[in-house]
């Protein structure tokens, strides 16, 4: 064989892996030693949200259930499917419903695309509620993470708004009557209710101005807001000491023992 006993595939692999192109993209070599395991996380724009090391107790599945991460994953999936839907959807009262029908009947994988967006949206609402419940029941909102809990509650509210604004877009009976009921409630806000209602509807009933407003909120303003607040949320996770661990119970000596932590 020659070449130090390397097979053809190994040589190709080495050539690809050591090429200037790949080295310019991935500066860190495969993380098979401690140094590279640190570097691969630090040097990646996607992975650097993580610390290089994490508490072993905190990464147990039965501790976090991966709910926060899955919520983020749902947001990314929704952004991807949402952008694809925007290629076909027309935010006009005359054409919105027709574009839904066309999407389902004459676009390749159109029905699947819409299903994924709809169900991922429902899933995200559920996941965010479950994540909040997990954080609550494991006491992870306690100092020093108080503010990030508040940020999380804001994210839950924004998630609901995103889901609700998307609800109108198919322009079917389900959509406009749910929004009619919903904006009707906004009319009962003390003092400013009628103004808020008029602002949400762009008039006195759900019509074209409502559709274009809710479309803009759904595809631009609320996602931007969610991304901004998510950035703060993730930043604060790192700054507040990463995932909560039993080691955070500074005053509680019993909780710092392995037996209690293993519960």
């Amino acid at each position: 064989m020659g070449n130090g006993g390397k097979s053809f595939l190994q040589r190709v692999g080495h050539w690809v892996w050591e090429s200037r192109l790949l080295r310019s993209i991935y500066r860190t070599r495969y993380p098979d030693n401690q140094r590279n395991r640190v570097m691969v996380v630090m040097n990646s724009v996607a992975l650097h949200l993580h610390p290089t090391k994490v508490s072993r107790g905190a990464v147990r599945i039965t501790y976090t259930w991966g709910l926060g991460g899955l919520s983020l994953w749902m947001f990314l999936l929704l952004t991807f499917t949402g952008v694809l839907l925007m290629f076909y959807y027309i935010p006009s009262t005359n054409q919105a419903y027709q574009s839904m029908l066309a999407l389902q009947s004459s676009v390749t994988l159109g029905q699947f695309l819409r299903n994924m967006h709809r169900f991922a949206a429902q899933a995200m609402v559920i996941l965010v509620i479950l994540h909040m419940t997990r954080v609550f029941y494991t006491g992870a909102y306690k100092p020093p993470r108080e503010f990030n809990w508040v940020v999380g509650v804001t994210l839950w509210f924004l998630t609901l708004l995103l889901s609700f604004t998307g609800y109108l877009l198919p322009w079917d009976q389900l959509a406009i009557w749910a929004i009619t009921v919903g904006t009707g409630i906004a009319g009962y806000v003390p003092f400013i209710g009628k103004t808020v209602q008029y602002m949400l509807l762009g008039g006195y009933q759900v019509d074209q101005p409502t559709l274009i407003r809710w479309y803009t909120l759904h595809v631009f303003l609320l996602p931007i807001a969610l991304i901004a607040v998510m950035a703060v949320h993730f930043w604060r996770i790192r700054k507040d000491g990463n995932l909560s661990t039993p080691a955070d119970n500074l005053d509680d000596e019993a909780a710092a023992t392995p037996q209690v932590a293993a519960r």
């Binding site: 610390p51 609550f136 079917d172 906004a186 019509d207 661990t245």
Partner: protein
């Protein structure tokens, strides 16, 4: 740089993972790669496969095109607002649609500023009683919600409030009329009068449109505060509750109420938003 690959296992924490799955050192750390990233990858993949399969076999609902002239009966909100929609049937819209959800959001956000102790972090339910408190308060809340919904549906508070409003009217206006002497048909008028008196006494502006203060404001508020209060008292009989345990009780109240109200509106409200059995409720009303 490309070092020879060492034999397995490579790192001390790998050995520890293999040796001691039960006993954890709270200070112990592992590398994010691979210990966390592998979990995240597998979770995202499994979840996405599941969601994709669901999206292949189940289609998202699409009803007939929007028609402003034809109101479906009942018109239901998205599932996460169904609990609020159920509340709307039992109290003033400003209370059910604005103040209660506002209070929930503010209340949730306030939790860490009330429960400030650094104890019980990263331990499910924090204390040995945490789970029991959750289950008991959750159950008490759910039972209360079901009973109150049925009571309001078939009986209502008006028959009980009439004598009360009459006596207040009597004491305020100074007449000697006993409650029974005011004809039942005039109940609504009494209610209006009582509301006006209360509104003026409390200085609440008329712009709020608070006509039936009694049955749409006072009674619901008393129950919404009373249920968690009595549940806390009940749990407190078995030992003083820590602040954390009180928060656990309140969260259980929130969660159980949210779930119960959502189930009632989703599964038990049919035509005219009246109560039906789930198999009588048409999930896709015309």
């Amino acid at each position: 740089m490309s070092a020879a690959i060492p034999p397995e296992p490579r790192f001390r924490e790998d050995v520890r993972v293999a040796r001691a799955p039960g006993a954890l050192d709270p200070q112990e750390k592992v590398f994010t790669w691979p210990h966390l990233l592998s979990i995240e990858l597998v979770a995202a993949l499994l979840y996405t496969v599941g969601l994709s399969l669901f999206a292949i076999f189940v289609n998202a609902p699409l009803e007939p095109m929007a028609n402003g002239q034809h109101t479906p009966n009942p018109a239901k909100a998205p599932w996460y607002f169904l609990g609020l929609q159920e509340l709307l049937l039992h109290m003033h819209p400003a209370l059910a649609g604005v103040l209660v959800p506002g209070a929930v959001l503010v209340g949730l956000a306030t939790i860490p500023f009330v429960d400030k102790e650094r104890k019980g972090i990263a331990i499910w339910f924090s204390t040995s009683r945490g789970l029991s408190i959750s289950l008991v308060v959750g159950l008490i809340s759910a039972i209360w919600v079901v009973l109150l919904v049925m009571f309001d549906n078939w009986v209502g508070v008006r028959p009980f409030m009439s004598p009360l409003v009459s006596s207040i009217l009597n004491s305020c206006v100074g007449t000697k009329a006993a409650p029974g002497l005011i004809p039942q048909g005039l109940w609504f008028m009494q209610e209006e009068c009582g509301s006006v008196l209360i509104r003026h006494t409390l200085g609440i502006p008329d712009a709020w449109g608070l006509a039936p203060v009694w049955n749409q404001w006072m009674v619901p508020i008393v129950f919404m505060i009373g249920i968690p209060f009595t549940a806390l008292q009940f749990c407190g009989r078995y030992g003083r509750l820590t602040v954390r345990e009180q928060m656990i009780a309140l969260y259980a109240y929130f969660l159980a109420t949210f779930i119960t109200l959502t189930i009632i509106m989703a599964g038990f409200r049919g035509f005219g938003e009246r109560l039906y059995w789930p198999w009588q409720v048409n999930p896709f009303p015309d």
